[in-house]
Symmetry: C2
Subunit: 439 residues, 2 copies
């Protein structure tokens, strides 16, 4: 629902927020941060600053449901806040807009406490937004599934279940980290087609995958499915997600039970959780299915498609190599994708996940799967961009890349823009590759 | 290492432990229990009783490392105890043997406090032993992998990677429960070969899988593999595990990323964690690989095989139908398997899991995968016992079963026996099937 919190004319007394491409007053994403030397705590990004929710509570700036929500969001994880569901979250958002509005009734009072309330984001360390109990990665990018399928089955790239089942698998929660950490190249078993036996050593085909992450808000009890019409209400927010993938390890290990060590060495998230309310202007109806595609089965079919539909987000992937850093070159744009290219909506992913009775808990994370568009400039992985490594890319620095090399930094950025609305961004999801441990 | 704690002549003043097939004084498994109306807490099974570790601490019965370990094991989960690693665990075991020994120096003093120390197990409720952060299920039963492979690929049942890679995948931690809970039959997408489209409804092919569970003790940091020689030291203990599986949902959903909703509706564990020290007499060297099989790669090859080797456990699967209960018939033995039929050792599973840098945390759970032997009387699932449902079993009650029906109770029991040693058991892992929710 688009409401007064989306008014593009609204300005904040935190002046760095005005015109900010990611964090204007219309966004207000939540995260966990440490000020220099301080303990991890909940905060809200506003321009180049972070509002400390605990400090605002201490100043008595909240009442009622907004106070309950701020209390739940002020600790070292956002799980308790996510668990509250949508209504307290909306109450807190409305109150935060009031407090930060340059034309707000309490502006003078609040700004007087700016020193206690605000921290320069550049001086803070970000943490994972939640203690992630379980992580599930889907495969909802149909162009990605088609592109990858073509590498193995040129004549029949999509498997027969794809347009019926939101394909997904369980990922590893323990190795999820936050931007801008480093990622150690994994060792593992690799076997080239011409080799008789596998060998153990550093992955030669280290890749990224461009995804969106979805945090679960209120959960469901074991054995009690979530109806499709209620599924969007179980989503607490969104982030960017890099599903680092060792393609050579994956190719050798993945049959018959799916990816394991090829993925579980690291997953990186952007630190700010953008709330569904902030993205309301960028909701779109679920894109119509191509002629001839089956209709979703009833448990995945939502009559009120507009409320649970898709999002229109632009997603950029950039690479910065050590040579680029040395030469002072800007990161090289690898691709620009869109969340419109997901075959399943977020609500469908949630409803499917719980359809057999699996219990989702507050702070659980869903990944969408790699988001690729139909053309190479929108392919969300090097596997696709370089055709499995056969067609190296030439970067702006003149270097070539088949896959990621040690020292490379991979950057995902996401932003929603629409005429008549402030742009809403996610900030960056960055990671830099470290060499593998000695074998 | 076999030591004085394994002396089969040792008797306990808790007389129900003497000759007990599962919980003699030589076992002393750890678990989390609630006495009638009490809060969950750590305890140790001894015969038909449970020793309350917090009560023993309050009586001042521990000192030094044993006290630290008892403290860590006395809370509502065993994670902190598991995190301590092997040495404090051994110290606590040695002290518990002293305290419970009928010939112990402190016998008279300790037995005087029996009312405070002991609870009748039959009056207690058991809980999950640990907060399980991540759950991984392996596929180490080579006969199972062969049997299942034959259903799909009669001429080439084992995939080329099987004898090199300990195949595994990530499971769902949130839906793991403890014996003797009920399990709701899942709804899901199912598609028979002759059907043009899938339909959504109750699984028609609900199955169990006989497995062992392995709890991780001390963990490893992200990016820091666990060498094979150290891997056994990261195991805190063992339990029985039923990996409930909806075969029809699995068959339709599992390509290309592996099982998902077919497995994540429930996993059931036996409540007692049997320590590696209790199983020392039942360690066997890793069974020699069949002629022609490749040697494990170096990162999975342990020169000191005896210390990290396999276990010789007998594993029974029984079914009790509503008709059996009504007629007063004993449960029907479906199969008797052995942990000797695992192709990979527990240490190899741990070392492989961490070999790419994935971090394991205390309380994480590994499943071995279904344990089947070479002959039908040792097949660990109905999928194998009924050849995918084509050859129904006739039970002692005269009933037939292709797969599990509503009201059926599935029971897994595990026990180690060896001449000259007390038998060590796991207790039962039970679960009863409830009907699926209405669609």
């Amino acid at each position: 629902m688009i409401d007064a919190t989306h008014d593009p004319a609204r300005q904040s007394w935190v002046t760095s927020a005005n015109g900010h491409a990611d964090f204007p007053i219309q966004n207000l994403p939540f995260g966990i941060f440490s000020p220099n030397g301080g303990a991890p705590r909940g905060g809200v990004a506003i321009g180049e600053e972070i509002l400390d929710l605990g400090a605002a509570l201490a100043l008595g700036l909240f009442a009622g449901a907004a106070s309950d929500a701020a209390q739940a969001a002020s600790g070292p994880t956002l799980n308790a806040f996510f668990a509250l569901g949508a209504e307290p979250r909306r109450a807190l958002r409305a109150r935060l807009v009031d407090l930060l509005d340059a034309a707000g009734q309490e502006h003078a009072t609040v700004e007087r406490h700016a020193g206690a309330l605000l921290h320069h984001a550049a001086d803070c360390r970000m943490h994972l937004p939640a203690a992630i109990g379980d992580y599930t990665d889907f495969y909802a990018g149909i162009s990605h599934a088609t592109n990858v399928g073509k590498l193995f089955r040129p004549d029949n790239p999509l498997l027969p279940n794809y347009k019926y089942v939101p394909i997904g698998y369980h990922g590893r929660a323990s190795s999820i980290g936050v931007s801008a950490g480093s990622v150690r190249r994994p060792n593992g078993q690799r076997k080239r087609a011409e080799e008789a036996e596998p060998s153990f050593g550093p992955s030669r085909n280290l890749d990224y995958e461009l995804e969106l992450g979805v945090f679960i808000g209120a959960g469901n009890a074991l054995g009690e499915p979530i109806p499709i019409g209620a599924a969007a209400g179980h989503i607490a927010g969104f982030c960017l997600l890099n599903d680092w993938s060792a393609r050579d390890i994956q190719g050798w290990e993945y049959q018959p039970l799916g990816p394991f060590l090829a993925k579980n060495f690291a997953t990186t998230l952007s630190p700010w959780v953008v709330m569904p309310e902030a993205l309301a202007p960028f909701r779109i109806a679920q894109p119509p299915r191509p002629e001839g595609d089956p209709a979703p089965l009833a448990y995945l079919m939502d009559a009120d498609d507009q409320s649970t539909g898709a999002l229109d987000l632009t997603l950029d992937v950039l690479i910065e190599t050590p040579a680029m850093r040395a030469q002072g070159l800007a990161p090289h744009l690898l691709s620009r994708g869109s969340s419109r290219d997901l075959y399943w909506t977020f609500a469908q992913l949630v409803a499917h996940h719980a359809s057999g009775g699996c219990n989702l808990n507050p702070g659980d994370l869903l990944g969408t799967g790699t988001i690729s568009g139909p053309t190479p400039d929108s392919f969300g992985s090097l596997l696709e961009l370089t055709q499995g490594g056969r067609a190296p890319l030439t970067l702006a620095s003149g270097e070539e890349r088949r896959f990621l090399e040690d020292g490379d930094t991979l950057i995902i950025q996401g932003r929603a823009t629409r005429d008549g609305f402030a742009s809403i961004g996610f900030g960056a999801c960055r990671g830099t590759i470290l060499p593998a441990p000695a074998v």
